[in-house]
């Protein structure tokens, strides 16, 4: 009697440097430490049934990771998944779970859009904010925005524009002026050719905007006029964060 759960989880702090390749064993060991009856695939080298819809680039933080876990025996989700969360390395936490009924649509189908956040250090804030706003407006007004993606196996030209659903440049005030960050939030489609925050940066930068010093995958789900609705929890993460609420 198997049981499937979908979870939303975080990958922040030190764990943002764990590669997609290493992630499976990190989860397997945490599941074994928490002593949960994860199901295993058949075959010569059985793998735990933990699936991730897509890989997060190494170094990128996320509060919007998802996974589907298949258990070989029923679990007590509230306490068992809390135990699993505690067994994961610091920086990886399970924040939401949902049991999956038979016939549910695939997890990837529920993650049609991603809210990304690119942040720059507290320098050139006025200029940078204005420039990012202008470039964002221009990008949204254009039909195409081709950039070159550099890869070890050769350069590729991709069109960023079809993936862009919404863009907003803001400044996030810190407690001191020196902590304030310039922030670009973007809603990108997941259901077309993959466009990453690095590609978006390339499209906006035109050679005069530094690479963001931090990139965060905030949440994934459905694109809504005001932001992105979390596929599991259902709440909407706004495109333009409510600065007052954050400060409070």
């Amino acid at each position: 009697m198997t049981q499937r759960y979908r979870i939303r989880w975080t990958k922040v702090a030190r764990t943002r440097f764990i590669s997609a390749r290493d992630l499976t064993s990190v989860w397997e060991r945490a599941l074994r430490r928490a002593d949960l009856p994860i199901a295993y695939s058949e075959g010569f080298t059985p793998h735990p049934k933990v699936s991730f819809p897509d890989a997060l680039p190494v170094g990128v933080s996320s509060t919007g990771e998802y996974a589907e876990l298949t258990f070989a025996a029923p679990i007590e989700p509230a306490s068992d998944l809390a135990a699993l969360s505690a067994a994961l390395p610091a920086g990886m936490d399970i924040t939401t779970y949902l049991e999956v009924p038979d016939g549910a649509p695939k997890l990837a189908k529920m993650l049609r859009a991603t809210l990304w956040e690119l942040a720059w250090p507290p320098v050139d804030q006025t200029e940078l904010g204005a420039l990012l706003s202008t470039r964002s407006d221009e990008l949204l007004a254009a039909d195409h925005a081709e950039v070159i993606r550099h890869r070890p196996d050769g350069d590729r030209t991709i069109d960023v524009r079809p993936a862009v659903l919404a863009l907003a440049a803001t400044t996030r005030p810190g407690s001191h002026a020196r902590d304030a960050h310039t922030v670009l939030r973007a809603v990108l489609r997941n259901d077309g050719p993959t466009v990453r925050p690095t590609d978006l940066h390339a499209a906006l930068s035109r050679g005069d905007v530094a690479e963001p010093h931090a990139v965060l995958r905030c949440v994934q789900g459905a694109h809504e006029p005001e932001g992105v609705r979390d596929a599991l929890g259902g709440e909407v993460e706004p495109l333009v964060p409510d600065v007052d609420a954050e400060a409070a």
Partner: protein
């Protein structure tokens, strides 16, 4: 470019004279600054950044001010190679269990990060809290082999610590080395403060106590408060030298003959021992470490929960330094092994268990241990493995047991030499009949691939002996083919490097051209047998290892120069450093031929003669003579003592064959030429 972060530098390393506040014991200390905030933004630019972040399950973090002594334990290679090391993990746990001590870990940064570290003034750092090397009291470095020496110098330099011992003050850490290569620390003599020989458990705690007492005495109102710095440091080194098993190179000097050969290494400091003994823990049961093993968040060379099932080895293979210097054999009880495994697997979540030792199938209760663990994990995803040097059918039986949860793929055997004669020379007691019978059994029982380990360049070796490797491979392959056309045989052939404290310590090493010629003889001989694969290392690889293994203090300038020329990671294919070394040797006048390719005689003193591994010098010489006369020596675990010198003086003998719990008769392993090896030896079937 808009939004460019200003180049950030880690906090400047305080000059000598300003470091003392960070080093004070307990709450008096200023916390050492972490470099994390500068390091973190750089990590996306380097390969495998997760190796630098720490935060693994079972890491131990202690507040700086909560400890009186602070250790940085280091394996001078990359994290993926060094993290599984058991020695570091044992000492890490032991020190952190101590309420007054703190231990963190460091590994060598790969060259990409080193470049960024130098650019951003990031010192050698600890993984746990990213604190700088210069602030710790002891830099404890394990040297499992010789190829980490340049990395050691580099880590010191990067860590704000003078790489030569004479340049250090009490505001620098004590640089302490241990591990197998510390049995000849002479090439490192100018760079280290002390070396520890033998088992590290007890002696590390004793050293910690010495450092703790010394630091207290340096505090205000303490007896050493106003003491001149050089005098105080000398006092600390004297106290360390008084700990049994600790060797302080600065207190000894070599005397050379006119022809350049070593005459003797003599003490120059009153009161230090003329012969420094190695340390030996007597009962492994009292030292059940490491229990809380680090669980890496990235691939490492051994990802498993490891339990050392015994320490030491009595096989007497004459080439094997580990086997010689870790005597006598001390076994862990089967029930302890079982408990450590079960607790460790539950705690770490590892899905593989390694039963470690130099030859794990030789544990007197390995049968029951393997059976009970296989029972406990049958039908689970937990797998078991053990390294073994035995070449007999029992090994196959054992492997069958361990492979209950998986498919029977590859088995490895180590005959080491191709001919019966040469196996007698190296004292590897296995006959060709044993080996072929074992292969027959293995393939008949469904194993698909046999890997055979050999060496070339062994003493007395002729081309006939070398060709015998190919012949043995061909005969094994013929057996393999009879049992299935897809079955495979791999010959793995390495070049022999003579090591200190072995009967072969007097032997000449083969130069790389000679090794290359011998390898090509093998390749040529098997060229018509496409199913046999030959794997070899680059013959040049043994050159640096050989020089550093048996070099003396005159080799030190070459290490220093090679490091300055850029040599790092000398054991890595990606880092061909041999040309840098050749240049360094030329510039410093180190004659490789003289150090490595020359046979020594009985009258020449060896650089490690004043370091006592427990082996009787006379016995080693006799065993070297026996070797050259093709004389074998029995395994003293099962047969009469031959007075190698290790056991007398210790209040122990080989500690095997426990009674109570599992009672197993200690019966001789039936190696050494018997044609009648039972597939299931009696001792395997036995139980309570």
């Amino acid at each position: 470019m808009l939004g460019t972060a200003p180049v950030s530098l880690a906090s400047t390393i305080p000059a000598r004279g300003a470091r003392a506040p960070y080093r004070r014991p307990g709450r008096e200390a200023l916390p050492a600054p972490s470099c994390w905030s500068v390091l973190e933004p750089l990590l996306p630019k380097v390969r495998k950044p997760v190796q630098y972040v720490g935060g693994e399950h079972n890491q131990h973090v202690t507040a700086w001010e909560a400890a009186e002594t602070r250790w940085l334990l280091c394996y001078p290679d990359t994290y993926e190679v060094g993290q599984p090391n058991q020695g570091i993990q044992i000492l890490y746990e032991l020190l952190n269990e101590r309420p007054t001590a703190l231990a963190e870990r460091a590994y060598a940064p790969w060259v990409d990060l080193e470049e960024l570290q130098r650019e951003h003034a990031i010192p050698t750092f600890s993984l746990e809290t990213h604190r700088p090397l210069w602030a710790f009291d002891v830099f404890g470095v394990t040297l499992p082999h010789e190829l980490g020496h340049t990395n050691l110098l580099n880590l010191l330099d990067l860590g704000g610590v003078p790489h030569r011992s004479v340049g250090r003050s009490t505001e620098d850490p004590i640089v302490l080395v241990g591990g197998h290569a510390a049995f000849n620390p002479e090439p490192l003599a100018p760079f280290i403060d002390a070396a520890v020989m033998g088992d590290g458990e007890q002696v590390t705690l004793e050293i910690d106590e010495v450092v703790r007492a010394f630091k207290r005495e340096r505090e205000p109102a303490g007896p050493l408060e106003g003491c001149d710095d050089a005098e105080a440091r000398h006092e600390l080194l004297r106290r360390l030298a008084a700990v049994e098993g600790v060797y302080v190179p600065a207190f000894y000097a070599p005397r050379y003959r006119d022809d350049g050969r070593l005459q003797r290494t003599v003490p120059t400091e009153p009161g230090v021992p003329a012969l420094v003994p190695k340390r030996t823990i007597q009962d492994l049961e009292e030292w059940q470490y490491p229990r809380k093993q680090i669980v890496p968040m990235t691939e490492t060379v051994h990802e498993r929960f490891s339990v050392e099932i015994f320490r030491g080895c009595t096989r007497g293979c004459r080439f094997c330094q580990a086997g010689m210097i870790t005597r006598p054999v001390r076994e862990r009880r089967p029930e302890t092994v079982q408990r450590l495994v079960e607790e460790g697997v539950a705690d770490t979540g590892f899905n593989e268990v390694g039963l470690l030792s130099l030859s794990s199938a030789d544990h007197s209760a390995i049968g029951p241990i393997a059976r009970d663990l296989a029972d406990a994990y049958e039908g689970t995803t937990t797998s078991l493995s053990l390294p073994s040097t035995r070449v007999d059918a029992f090994n196959v039986t054992l492997s069958n047991e361990l492979a209950r949860n998986g498919r029977r793929t590859g088995l490895t055997f180590a005959p080491e030499a191709g001919s019966e004669r040469l196996r007698a020379v190296i004292n590897k007691m296995v006959s060709e009949a044993d080996l072929l019978r074992t292969a027959e059994v293995a393939f008949a029982e469904g194993w698909r691939h046999i890997k055979l380990y050999f060496m070339v360049g062994l003493p007395t070796e002729t081309d006939e002996d070398v060709l015998a490797i190919a012949e043995l491979g061909i005969r094994t392959y013929e057996i393999a083919r009879r049992h299935g056309h897809a079955n495979k045989v791999t010959l793995s052939v390495g070049g022999f490097v003579p090591k200190p404290h072995t009967p072969f310590q007097w032997a000449a090493q083969d130069p790389p051209d000679e090794i290359r010629r011998k390898l090509s003889l093998i390749r040529h001989a098997i060229k018509d047998h496409r199913g046999i694969k030959v794997r070899t290392n680059d013959p040049e690889e043994g050159v640096i290892e050989g020089l550093l293994a048996r070099g003396d203090r005159r080799v030190a300038p070459a290490i220093e120069r090679a490091w300055q020329l850029g040599a790092r990671f000398d054991g890595w294919h990606e880092m061909p450093t041999l040309e840098l070394w050749r240049q360094a040797m030329a510039e410093t006048g180190v004659d490789l031929d003289w150090f490595s390719y020359r046979e020594r005689d009985q009258h020449e003193a060896l650089p490690w003669d004043h370091l006592d591994s427990g082996l009787d010098a006379g016995w080693l010489w006799e065993d070297w003579q026996d070797a050259q006369a093709d004389q074998q020596l029995d395994d003293c675990r099962w047969s009469a003592c031959y007075d190698c010198g290790v056991c007398p003086g210790l209040s122990i003998e080989h500690d095997t064959g426990y009674t109570g719990g599992f009672s197993l008769p200690v019966v001789p392993s039936r190696l050494g030429g018997s044609d009648e090896l039972p597939i299931t030896p009696e001792r395997y079937a036995s139980g309570p």
